[in-house]
Amino acid sequence: MQDLENEIRNMIAEIIEKDPAAITPDAKFYEDLGVDSMMALEILAAMEKKYKITIPEEKLAQLTTLKETVAVAREFLEKEGRHA
């Protein structure tokens, strides 16, 4: 569980060019971390690629914090019958 969170944190850090330590579970992407909608889409696409899952674009609005993002990834991993 911690692994998934760390993996996603590092992935996001790379996309938004921020120190992973700044991406705390509840830090708000848009307000606190300067994420824009295109970066959010890149985060979604990166998760799809890494975990070989398909996340509908409607879920974009839910990618607001690391905690929420991990929850989305987990939801779709579980749908695929994989547990993280």
């Binding site: 295109m38 889409l41 696409a45 799809e48 674009e57």
Partner: protein, 248 residues
């Protein structure tokens, strides 16, 4: 072949300029999906013609005015072909009338089909293009939207809107290797012009410096160029194809 292994969606593909674009893309090796609203027979004939060229073809009935139908259209194309590389927003209608006689319905129908349809289909395809960091879009505008045309306030407004849409989207998605351009045809020999009175037609010919009406292939040739790698450094532009009718 310019578009081998690529998949293209053309809206309003069963007749006129759209049909010529479908055939051009098929000749250049693309897998083809096109939408049509009412022309079922023409759509079936076209699908057969594309398949004769050895390409896969998916003709889908869809009303681009409806966001949900546009979404379903794009989804079906992606499901069928597994990808989408090219979008040509061509679906369009006219309801020409002097403004003082134009009804709200005639205004809305034209705006919602031409401009709304372009938004609806592009909105549903853009995330795919953004994710794959590639995509090419050509929107069919009109010389009416560039220069204005009497009795076409609705059509000209929609087609000018498409030019603004094209410019803005081009800036928004350029970083994602997505190019967005428009083509503005002048008077082209299609069903849209079939109702033209003989005297008006002759009058018109006098105003076109190149002395003839356009052919659908005059337009599809420019679309081909804009979609090809030869136009790799061109985005946000509107190319007028009108025989010199409107020269800026």
């Amino acid at each position: 072949m310019l578009f081998k292994e690529q998949v293209a969606l053309v809206t309003g593909g069963s007749r006129g300029i759209g049909r010529a674009i479908v055939l051009m893309l098929a000749q250049e090796g693309a897998g083809i999906a096109f939408s049509y609203l009412k022309s079922t027979q023409e759509a079936e004939g076209l699908a057969q013609e594309v398949e004769k060229l050895g390409r896969k073809c998916l003709g889908l009935q869809a009303d681009v005015r409806d966001f949900a139908q546009a979404k379903e259209l794009v989804e079906k194309v992606k499901q069928h072909f597994g990808r989408l590389d090219i979008l040509v927003n061509n679906a369009g209608i006219t309801r020409d009338k002097a403004l003082m006689l134009m009804t709200k319905e005639e205004w809305l129908e034209v705006i919602e089909t031409n401009l709304g349809g372009t938004f609806n289909v592009t909105r549903n395809a853009i995330v795919t293009f953004l994710k794959q960091k590639s995509g090419k879009i050509v929107n069919i505008s009109s010389v009416s939207g560039v220069a204005g045309m009497s009795r076409q306030t609705n059509y000209a407004a929609a087609k000018a809107g498409i030019i603004g849409f094209t410019k803005s989207l081009a800036k928004e998605v350029a970083a994602y290797n997505i190019r967005v351009n428009a083509v503005a045809p002048g008077f082209i020999e299609t069903d849209m012009l079939a109702g033209l009175k003989e005297e008006y037609r002759n009058e018109l010919l006098k105003r076109i410096p190149l002395g003839r009406l356009g052919k659908v292939d005059d337009v599809s040739a420019v679309v081909k160029f804009l979609l090809s790698d030869a136009a790799d450094f061109i985005t946000g532009q509107t190319i007028v194809v009108d025989g010199g009718l409107f020269i800026q």
